[in-house]
Amino acid sequence: MSIERSPGVPEIETDPRDRIAEAREPTEKTWFRNLDEAVIEADRCVQCGSCMAACPSDSIGIDEETGRPTLVRMCTGCSRCWDFCPRSGLRYERLNGLEGSEARSAYAVSAAGDHEGQNGGAVTALLAGLLEAGEIDGAVVVGDGGDALTGEPVLATTRTELLESAGSSYTQTMQLGRVDELIADSGLDDPDIALVGTPCVIQGAAALDRLQYDDELASVTLTISLVCTRSFAYERLRSLLIGRGVEIDSIDSLEIDGGDLIARDDGGARLLTEDVEAFDAAALRGCAECSDAVGEAADISAGNVGSPDGKTTLLARTEAGEAAIDAATADLDPDELDETAALEGFADWNRRQAEASIPRDLDADAPLSITYTEHHDAYDGTDRAPESLNPARVHQYEEWC
C-alpha cells in the first residue's frame, strides 16, 4: 500500500543541509534526522528510549507533548541512535540470537506475600527478594504516571517503593533513556540495578551492554522483560476510551487479560471489558513489527502465559537470571515448569503476526546492523515508509557548540 502525499508536505531528505552541502557524504552516514524520518515521523517509534541511551552527546531528549524522542541539542552525526534503534539500525532478532535466546529453566511462581499487579506481582516479589538479599541496590520499574494510562519510570530501592509502583502500564515512557538520570538522582554510588521493561527496552539495554561506547547503563546488572504484545499511544488510547464513555480520571487500573482490555475503578469494579483488538487503532504501530513478545535478550522473561491461573511464568535465560530466581526463592514459591509449549506457541503466534506487518525480512542469521539504504530498500513504498522530517524535532533546539 502506498501513501499519497498531501500537497505542501515536503519529501524526505529535503533537509536544508542536504541541499546546501558541497561535500559528498560517505555512504550510510546517518543522523538523528534520518531516524526521525524512518522511525518517528513514519509513526513506528516504540518509545523504548534506546536512541536516547545510546547518544554519546546526550543530544536526544523527550518531546513533552508526544512523549517521543527529539533533539535537545546539536546532533553530531555519530549514527548511534540509528544503530541501537530496534525499529531501524538494530536487527533485534539477530541480537537475541547473539544473546542466546533459549531459556535455561522455567518456573511457575506466585508472590509469597500479598502483591497487587498483573505480572508485576511476581516480579515485584522477585525484586523485593533481591533487594533484601543485597543482590541489587535498586530496580528501575515503571510506576504510576499522571493517570491510569500513563507510567513513569522510577528507581525503587525498598520493598515499599516497589509495591507502590506495582501494576501494569500499557504506554511507553522512553524508559531506557531515563535510567542514567534516575540513578544520578538517587544518590546511589555505583549501584547494581535491575531493569524491568518491555522487550524493546531490554533489546536496547542488551545491545548497549554488548556494544558499549562509554559505559552506557553500567549499573544495570539484571534485566527482566515483561511479556508484551503491544503498547499503546497515549492520546489515541485516551480518545478511544472516551469514545466508549469511559472517563479517564475514573480509571484506576488497566489490564489485558484473556484477550480483553479491562479498565477498573479504584474499587476494583469493571468500567470496561472489551476485546483488545478493538483498540488496535491506538496500538503503537511499531509494536506490530516486533516478533519478540517474551524478551529473549533478557536475563529473565516474565509473563502470565503458560502457568496455572494465579501464577506467573518466569524464564531464566542466563546464569544471572537463574541466580536471581534462586536468591529470591523465599519470596516466590517457585515450581519448575517442565512444559513450556504454551509459551512457545504464544511466541510463535506473535512471530507470525510480526512477519505479516514488518516490511523487511525477519532473519536471525543476517548481520546485526541494518543500514540506512537497506532500511529504505525494504520500507519505501510501503505504509511504513520514511516520511519527511519534523523541523520541531530536528531543527529546533537550544544548545549547540
Binding site: 546526550d58 553530531t76 556494544l211 491506538a282
Partner: protein, 793 residues
C-alpha cells in the same frame, strides 16, 4: 480590523452539519482510525505549517494553502468549523491561517476538541470522499500581522502586548511591558470545553484588555496565540494583530539577561559563591548564556572551558605572558582528575589555539574568573562575545601589517570587534556570525569559510575589498560566494552591521540547526541577497574593478621575510596545544628578538614577527623551538584538531593527544621510508574534528577526519569519516570517501594513501589534486584495505 472567527457550540454544529464544512485538524492517522465528526474532512495541522527556513513566520506558502483546501473540497465561501484533539489550539491555527489568507465564508472554532465532542455527539468511522474544489485565489492580509518593528513600537505606543505562552515561559523572559494571558486560561481543564462566556470576559477584564484596545499577540511559533486570537475575535475585540516571527531574538535584544556586559558583571558578583550559585542566582538557563562571555560547560561537571577573543590573532608579549601565567595557575586539573598528569601527552596547564585564532583554556573554575578577568582587563584582553550568537573572533592574516604592500587589516578587525561588543542587539543574532579579513593575496583569512569574507580588491585605483557571503562548514558545507561589490576599508564595519541587521530580520531564531546566514544566501541566491543587503547598507553598492590574482597560502610555518631586516618565524604547535610556560617563553622571545608581539594562526600555530636578521641564528637555537619547530615534519606541520572528547560535550572522539601522537609517528615513518626527500611535501594536512561540527575545518584538509562511532556485532569504538582532497586554493572541499573507519586504523590508512600518492603522482601534483582525479571508491578501498591482503586495491 480583527479577522472574524467565531466560537461554535457543538450542539449548533451537530444540528446543521450539512450546511457546514467541518474540518478535522488532527493528523491523518487519527482522523482515519479513531473516528471523526460525521462528514468532517481532514486538513492536518502539520500540513499548514511552513517548515522552510525563509518563512515569513510560520504561515505556509499561499499556493500550498490553496492546494490543501482544494484537495479537502473546501470552497472559498464555505462556512468552516474546525476542531482538533489539542483543546482547539491547532484548529484555531488552521482558522487563523485561512482568515489571514482571505477565506470569504464564516469561520468557527468548535467549542471543545474531538474528545469533548465524542462525549456527547455521534462520530463516524468511514472516511468521506471530500471531492475536489477549486479554492479561489489566496492573498495575505498583511494588516493582521505585526512584525518585529511593530512589536518594538508597541512597547511604547499604547498598544497592549499579550504573551499567550505558559506562566513559566513568561516569567523566564518576555517582551517588556507584555501582559500574560496563557491561551489555556480560557479552557476548562476538566471538560476540554471553553469556559463560559462570562468567565472568559472576566479573564479579559482582569488583564485590562478592552475590546477597543489595539492589541498584539505573541507566542513562540504562532500556534498558541491563534487560540487567543479566536477568543478575542469572538468577543468582539476589534484591533487585534499577531506576531508571526520567532520570539527569541526579540526577547533577547530586550532582556538584561542576554546583555553580555550585564551578564559579565552578574557572573563576577556571584562567582566567589561557586558553581551552584550560578544557576541559583542567575537562572537555570544561565549555562547557555555563558557562551556570550566565553564560558562553556564541559564533560567535567563543575568546570568550564574559557574562550578568549584575539582579534586577528594579535597578542602583545605582555598579553601572551598574562595568558601563559593564567594558564599555568588556573587551567589545572584537580588531583582526582589526574592533576599534573591529567593528559598523557601534554601534562597540565596548557592552552589551545583555535582555527579562529582564539585561545581556549580548560579546567577553569568559576571562582577564579574574577581574578582572570581582572588580569585580562589590565592587558586589554576580553572574553566578552568570544562565543554565542554574535560576531565570533575576526580572522585575519597572521602577518597583517608586517609585509610591504599588504593592507593592515588588524585595525579593521579591532573596529569590527568593537562594533559588535557590548551591543545587546548584535550579541543576539539568530546564530553565530563569522568574518574574515585578508589583506594579502593569499587568502589567509579563508574567505570561503566565513559568513562574510573580505579579500583585497580595487575600484578606480582605490584599494579596498571584495566580499564573499554565506560560507560555512559543519554538516552543510558551503563556500562563500562573491557579492561582486567593492567595499572601501572604512565601509567594512558598516557592511558587516548591515549583514547582521539582515540576518536578524531574515534568519530564523527557531530553526537553530539550519539558520546560519548561508541558508539565507542559498535560498535567495547571491543576486537577491545582494539586492536585499543593499537596503540595509548606508552606502551605494558599486562593482569592484578587479581582485588581485590570489593564491591560497595554507600556513605560515618557517622563517619568512617581512620588510627590511625583519623576518617572521612561524612555529608549529602540533594540534594547537601549548603549555602556559612555553607561551611565556615565546613572549619572551618576542621581546628579545622581535617587536614584542605574537600572532596566532588559523592553522593553530604561532608566529613570532619582526625577528631581526642578525639574530635569526641565535633565535633558531632557542630551546622552546625544539618542541614548537619552524621546520617541522610534514605531519606535525599539517595537523589541526578541535578540542575533542577530552573536554567537549559533543566530541565523539578524542583528538588532541591522538593527533599529536599520530603526527610524530607519521613524521618518523616518512623520515625512515624510502621516499626521496625531494618528493616529500612540506605539509600533509590532517584535520581531525571530534564530531560533525567543523571546529578543525576537516573539509579543507588533505585528509579530513570527522568523529563517528563504529559498531559491529562484537564492539563499539571511536571512529572517523575520512574525507580526502580538500583544497581552499581551488576552492574545493573534501570528498568523504570512507565512513566510520575505526580510529586506530587511521595511521596505517594514511600511510597507504601516501604510498599510493608517491607512486602515482604526476610531476609536482599535490596530494589534493591526486585524490581529486582518483576514483572515490578506489580511495575508499585504499583506506580500508590492508596492503598485505592479496588483491587489495
Amino acid at each position: 480590523m480583527t479577522l472574524d472567527i467565531s466560537i461554535a457550540d457543538p450542539s449548533w454544529v451537530d444540528d446543521r452539519r450539512d450546511g457546514l464544512a467541518v474540518v478535522d485538524a488532527r493528523d491523518r492517522r487519527d482522523y482515519e482510525t479513531l473516528g471523526h465528526v460525521p462528514g468532517a474532512v481532514n486538513v492536518p495541522f502539520e500540513s499548514i505549517r511552513d517548515s522552510g527556513s525563509d518563512a515569513a513566520g510560520h504561515l505556509p506558502d499561499p499556493e500550498a494553502v490553496r492546494e490543501l483546501l482544494s484537495a479537502a473540497g473546501i470552497e472559498h465561501d464555505d462556512p468552516v468549523v474546525a476542531y482538533d484533539n489539542r483543546r482547539g489550539v491547532e484548529a484555531a491555527r488552521l482558522l487563523v491561517t485561512m482568515a489571514v489568507y482571505g477565506h470569504e465564508g464564516p469561520l468557527y472554532l468548535l467549542d471543545g476538541d474531538f474528545d469533548a465532542w465524542q462525549r456527547a455527539y455521534r462520530t463516524e468511522q468511514s472516511v468521506p470522499d471530500p471531492g475536489v474544489s477549486r479554492y479561489g485565489s489566496v492573498s495575505l492580509r498583511a494588516s493582521a500581522l505585526a512584525d518585529r518593528a511593530d512589536v518594538e513600537a508597541a512597547m511604547g505606543n499604547g498598544t497592549t502586548l499579550v504573551d499567550t505562552r505558559t506562566a513559566s515561559e513568561y516569567e523566564s523572559a518576555h517582551v517588556p511591558g507584555a501582559v500574560h494571558l496563557g491561551w489555556e486560561a480560557f479552557v476548562d481543564p476538566e471538560t476540554g470545553r471553553l469556559k463560559p462566556e462570562a468567565e472568559r470576559r472576566a479573564i479579559l477584564e482582569d488583564r485590562g484588555l478592552d475590546p477597543d484596545d489595539p492589541i498584539v499577540l505573541y507566542c513562540n511559533t504562532a500556534r498558541r496565540l491563534s487560540h487567543t486570537y479566536a477568543v478575542l475575535s469572538a468577543h468582539g475585540y476589534g484591533h487585534v494583530r499577531f506576531h508571526e516571527g520567532d520570539l527569541t531574538g526579540l526577547i533577547r535584544e530586550h532582556s538584561p539577561d542576554w546583555d553580555p556586559k550585564q551578564l559579565y558583571e552578574g557572573v563576577r558578583e556571584v562567582a566567589s559563591e561557586g558553581y551552584d550559585a550560578l544557576a541559583e542566582e542567575l537562572g537555570e538557563d544561565v549555562f547557555g548564556r555563558l557562551h556570550l562571555i566565553g564560558l562553556y560547560t564541559v564533560r567535567q561537571d563543575g568546570y568550564f572551558m574559557l574562550r578568549t577573543k584575539v582579534p586577528g590573532g594579535r597578542l602583545t608579549a605582555e598579553q601572551a605572558k598574562t595568558v601563559g601565567r593564567i594558564t599555568e595557575e588556573f587551567a589545572t586539573a584537580p588531583e582526582r582528575h589526574g592533576g599534573t598528569e591529567q593528559n598523557p601527552v601534554f601534562g597540565d596547564g596548557f592552552l589551545d589555539v583555535t582555527t579562529r585564532q582564539g585561545i581556549q583554556l580548560h579546567w577553569i573554575r568559576i571562582e577564579d574568573m574574577p581574578e582572570i578577568w581582572d588580569r585580562y582587563e589590565s592587558v586589554g584582553l576580553t572574553t566578552i562575545q568570544a562565543s554565542g550568537n554574535t560576531l565570533r573572533n575576526v580572522v585575519t592574516c597572521p602577518t597583517a601589517g608586517r609585509i610591504a604592500g599588504e593592507t593592515d587589516v588588524n585595525a579593521i578587525a579591532e573596529e569590527l570587534a568593537d562594533a559588535f561588543e557590548g551591543s545587546r542587539r548584535y550579541a543576539n543574532l539568530p546564530r553565530k556570525f563569522k568574518i574574515g579579513l585578508s589583506g594579502c593575496q593569499e587568502n589567509c583569512a579563508r574567505a570561503e569559510l566565513q559568513d562574510l569574507g573580505f579579500v583585497p580588491a580595487t575600484r578606480d585605483g582605490e584599494e579596498g575589498f571584495a566580499v564573499k557571503v554565506g560560507g560555512g562548514l559543519s554538516d552543510g558545507p558551503r563556500a562563500a560566494t562573491d557579492l561582486g561589490i567593492f567595499v572601501a576599508p572604512d565601509e567594512v564595519v558598516d557592511l558587516s552591521l548591515a549583514a547582521a541587521d539582515l540576518f536578524i530580520d531574515h534568519g530564523s531564531y527557531l530553526d537553530t540547526a539550519v539558520n546560519r546566514l548561508k541558508y539565507v544566501v542559498d535560498e535567495w541566491g547571491t543576486e537577491r541577497f545582494r539586492e536585499e543587503l543593499r537596503s540595509y547598507a548606508p552606502f551605494e553598492f558599486e562593482p569592484y574593478d578587479r581582485t588581485p590574482s590570489s593564491d591560497y597560502r595554507g600556513d605560515h610555518v618557517g622563517i619568512h621575510h617581512e620588510t627590511g631586516d625583519r623576518y617572521y618565524a612561524g612555529c608549529t604547535l602540533p594540534t594547537g596545544r601549548i603549555g602556559g610556560g612555553d607561551l611565556i617563553e615565546f613572549a619572551d622571545l618576542a621581546d628579545r628578538y622581535g617587536d614584542g608581539e605574537l600572532r596566532t594562526t588559523a592553522n593553530q600555530n604561532l608566529v613570532v614577527p619582526g625577528v631581526r636578521g642578525d639574530t635569526l641564528e641565535s633565535f633558531l637555537g632557542e630551546s622552546v623551538l625544539d618542541e614548537y619547530s619552524p621546520t617541522p615534519g610534514p605531519f606535525s606541520r599539517g595537523i589541526v584538531t578541535c578540542t575533542g572528547r577530552e573536554f567537549c560535550k559533543y566530541g565523539v572522539v578524542e583528538t588532541k593527544s591522538r593527533g599529536h601522537r599520530w603526527a610524530r609517528e607519521l613524521d618518523s615513518w616518512l623520515e625512515s621510508s624510502d621516499v626521496p626527500d625531494a618528493a616529500v611535501p612540506d605539509a600533509v594536512r590532517i584535520h581531525m574534528s571530534g564530531c560533525s561540527a567543523s571546529c578543525a575545518q576537516p573539509q579543507i584538509a588533505d585528509i579530513g577526519l570527522r568523529g563517528e562511532a563504529y559498531r559491529d556485532e562484537t564492539r563499539s569504538s571511536q571512529a572517523v569519516d575520512i574525507g580526502l582532497g580538500g583544497d581552499l586554493g581551488q576552492p574545493r572541499f573534501v570528498e568523504w570517501v570512507s565512513g566510520r573507519v575505526p580510529v586506530e586504523d587511521v595511521p596505517d590508512a594514511t600511510k597507504r594513501l601516501l604510498r599510493r600518492f608517491f607512486e602515482e603522482r604526476r610531476a609536482d601534483e599535490s596530494f589534493a589534486t591526486w585524490t581529486d582525479r582518483t576514483d572515490a571508491d578506489r580511495l575508499d578501498r585504499i583506506v580500508r584495505t590492508d596492503r598485505a591482503v592479496a588483491g587489495a586495491d
